[in-house]
């Protein structure tokens, strides 16, 4: 019985994948000529986004970005599940980088600036170079600075997972809203505004802010997990 259901599901999946790939139309003129002109024109004329890379990554190839974020999430989950047991045997941090007062005072000064830079990078992802992924990594390096310089600095694992899940839900939810309003997954359904304004580009800023929060939470979790692993000395 189980095997029959599995075979039926596989057959249905194969049918849909087959029809999808059959209807793409490889070899058509718009594939032969390339799609770069279409992307450049569409980005400036209809989407009103200054950064073409962002409009391709989030709008035209938004599904790929969702897959990328999923890959990162799976990698972080695997790391956490491998190191989980050894972390809880100890409870406290195993790796200590003892630092002088100059380092602690300096990192306390730098930490808000680093967080602000990260937020700037992912909020202005559709206007200037950078985006959700880059901004999230910059925020994670800010937390890394604090974790390295203060021995008793800790990040709440519960809040990290809450932020991460909410950001992922926002990303998928915006995609599903595009399904309802526009027609396809992750299609733009908001007014696109004026070119070069902060509030332009439709759903792109919302998705990039969600990606920024998600990447920041995930990478901070990685650093926290690795720092709290029991030493093998």
């Amino acid at each position: 019985m189980k095997k029959v259901i599995v075979i039926l599901l596989l057959a249905a999946l194969g049918f849909y994948l087959g029809t999808t790939f059959f209807n793409i139309g490889f070899g058509d003129p718009h594939f032969a000529n390339g799609v770069k002109d279409f992307y450049l024109k569409e980005t400036v004329d209809n989407l009103h986004v200054s950064n073409t890379v962002t409009s391709i990554v989030v709008n035209f190839r938004g599904f790929d970005t969702l897959g990328e974020v999923t890959v990162l999430f799976l990698a972080v989950t695997a790391l956490g599940s491998i190191l989980y047991k050894r972390r809880h045997e100890v409870g406290t941090r195993s790796v200590l980088f003892s630092s002088s007062s100059v380092v602690t005072a300096g990192s306390k000064l730098l930490f808000p600036a680093v967080i602000l830079l990260g937020v700037y990078v992912f909020v202005h992802g559709h206007l200037s170079p950078g985006g959700g992924f880059q901004g999230g990594v910059i925020i994670a390096t800010g937390f890394l600075l604090m974790l390295l310089s203060y021995e008793n600095y800790s990040v709440s694992h519960k809040w990290l997972s809450i932020v991460e899940s909410l950001a992922g839900i926002v990303f998928a939810g915006v995609g599903l809203l595009g399904f309802i309003n526009g027609g396809t997954f992750l299609q733009n359904f908001l007014p696109t505004g004026v070119l070069n304004n902060l509030f332009s580009g439709g759903v792109i800023p919302i998705i990039y802010i969600a990606v920024g929060f998600k990447v920041a939470a995930e990478l901070t979790g990685v650093i926290y997990t690795v720092l709290h692993e029991k030493g093998v000395k």
Partner: protein, 91 residues
């Protein structure tokens, strides 16, 4: 002209850092050399007009990967043992 000289110099610097990080027995210095590879690579990306990729490479390659390797070295051993010693330990 000077643009190509700069790019050639940066590429040579990358190759030198890569060879150094392979030959070096002190893993701390080898890790810092891999960080230098990422730093030079991000400068190259910037020169080749790909600032998005340059930002990613600078943040991940220089900061995060290097620091995770440093934490690993702190948790394990700093000096790479000779191959013969390793084989006798395994026996």
């Amino acid at each position: 002209m000077i643009y190509f000289v700069l790019i050639a110099f940066l590429l040579l610097l990358m190759i030198a850092a890569a060879v150094y990080s392979i030959r070096q027995k002190d893993l701390l210095y080898a890790t810092l050399a891999t960080g230098i590879i990422s730093l030079v690579l991000s400068i190259l990306f910037y020169l080749l007009q790909a600032p998005d990729v340059a930002l990613t490479e600078a943040a991940i390659g220089v900061a995060l990967t290097t620091i995770i390797f440093l934490i690993t070295i702190r948790n394990t051993v700093r000096y790479e043992s000779d191959e013969d010693n390793f084989k006798s330990e395994v026996k």
